[in-house]
């Protein structure tokens, strides 16, 4: 026997289930009035600095069917690359947003501003990106991924550099479909499967 470590094990994850909206986006479930408004309704407030952008997409399962019951959370820096809570952060940027795939179409939409470059914390700057966390029925532990942008220089990004199969990097790049409009589809499984992280 050796000495006992005094660390604890993380509580195990369980699926968020099909009714995750009751707790996380009550108005989507049809519950009004318990809270003044849903948490994380807006990534930004009026007057946030930076380029306004809208990202739309779907989350597709291994058969190509769009999930109608997924919940997504996003976390990002402000236009100067500073996270909310850090000194100098834009007070109009919440950084956090919660949104759901549409019940009928599976489409999601995130309205925000383009984030700036942020330090990795282990040297160098990361290309502009938005972190996503995806939960749903059938997903046992939340999936971490990132949105990058095709009209930015992503060549020096230290996280993307960790992806050995370079063609898989493309699954993390949002496509520009108009002025300030991007498309980002997430494929959970199969051909062109999106890169998911363990970070």
């Amino acid at each position: 026997m050796v000495q006992k470590l005094d660390t604890l094990r993380e509580t195990p994850s369980q699926t968020a289930g099909p009714y995750v909206h009751i707790g996380c986006i009550p108005s989507f479930a049809g519950i009004e009035g318990v809270y003044p408004e849903d948490l994380g309704k807006r990534a930004i407030e009026e007057g946030a600095r930076g380029t306004p952008i809208t990202i739309t997409g779907q989350i597709l399962d291994g058969t190509g069917w769009a999930l109608r019951d997924a919940l997504i959370e996003s976390w990002q820096a402000d236009a100067a690359g500073i996270y909310p809570g850090q000194p100098g952060a834009d007070p109009k940027v919440n950084g956090f947003c919660r949104f759901a795939a549409d019940k009928e179409t599976g489409e999601f939409m995130l309205k925000t501003i383009k984030p700036g470059r942020v330090p990795s914390g282990w040297g160098g700057l990361q290309a502009p990106h938005i972190a996503l966390w995806i939960v749903a029925r059938g997903i046992n532990i939340g999936l971490q991924t990132r949105i990058y942008f095709e009209d930015e220089d992503n060549s020096e990004d230290p996280v993307l550099a960790r992806i050995e199969q370079r063609h898989r990097v493309d699954t993390l790049i949002a496509k520009r479909i108009g002025d300030g409009q991007y498309r980002f589809d997430i494929r959970l499984q199969g051909e062109n499967e999106t890169v998911f992280f363990d970070m």
Partner: protein
């Protein structure tokens, strides 16, 4: 929506997740995972500033009835039907330190196993006085509590005759986006736990047992409510003094 907090700017690296503590993505006994689980391995990378920061929510967010599911749907005008329980515990990190001022959200079915959700069609009736969502912030010692009713078991389409054990869904933020966790709390002694393919996506029995809340008579209030205790552990931060990071990064 958010408020500043001293822990917020901390960017110490997160301890890499012990994936053996969690269910695998693919588990055919829980059928929906079959088409919703990635086939390629996750890309393991040290946390960055992105994962080491996260949203924090101020006390101004929380209304006085937000953690009282017996009363919050009617604004205190009428009480939900069911077995009245207090659910309480602490949120800690892997280093055993309390996680203060962090948001804990819960949701659940009513006493008959019916969810208030547009997509739930189970014929057990809705309770007109029960919504099923609650939230609170942990105190300075990481402690939280909810007053609610014990949810009922309910059937779901998986194998031919599948019933979820009574459970309460939990969502916990921590102080970093990389600590984000959703899980479920079960109740001591429920015979459906051993038959549930969702509970058994967790392959380590010791880990599954940690989701089973103990009856806690010491916290029950006589002639009012029973109590269950449920502690939660989130990822910790690496505490080494010798991070090899350039100044200012």
């Amino acid at each position: 929506m958010t408020a500043s907090h001293p822990n917020r700017a901390s960017t110490l690296p997160l301890i890499p997740r012990d994936r053996t503590a969690h269910p695998p993505a693919y588990d055919p006994d829980y059928k929906t995972t079959v088409t919703r689980s990635p086939r390629w391995p996750l890309i393991s990378v040290d946390s960055t500033t992105t994962e080491e920061t996260g949203p924090l929510f101020g006390h101004d967010l929380i209304g006085p009835l937000d953690n009282n599911l017996i009363l919050n749907y009617t604004g205190g005008k009428a009480a939900a039907v069911g077995e009245r329980i207090l659910v309480h515990g602490r949120v800690l990190d892997e280093n055993g330190r309390p996680v203060p001022n962090t948001l804990v959200e819960i949701w659940q079915a009513n006493a008959g196993g019916r969810y208030r959700h547009v997509k739930d069609t189970y014929f057990a009736p809705l309770d007109p006085n029960f919504g099923g969502c609650g939230r609170t912030l942990t105190d300075e010692n990481g402690y939280y509590q909810f007053l609610t009713i014990k949810p009922g078991a309910y059937p779901w389409p998986n194998r031919g005759n599948e019933w979820r054990p009574s459970h309460i869904h939990y969502s916990i933020f921590g102080h970093a986006f990389g600590q984000r966790l959703i899980s479920q709390m079960y109740f001591e002694g429920d015979p459906l736990i051993d038959r549930c393919p969702i509970a058994h996506t967790i392959k380590d029995r010791g880990q599954l047992d940690r989701l089973v809340a103990a009856l806690d008579m010491s916290a029950a209030r006589p002639m009012d409510f029973l109590a269950y205790k449920f502690d939660i552990v989130l990822r910790g931060r690496r505490q080494t003094m010798f991070e090899n990071r350039p100044e200012g990064l």
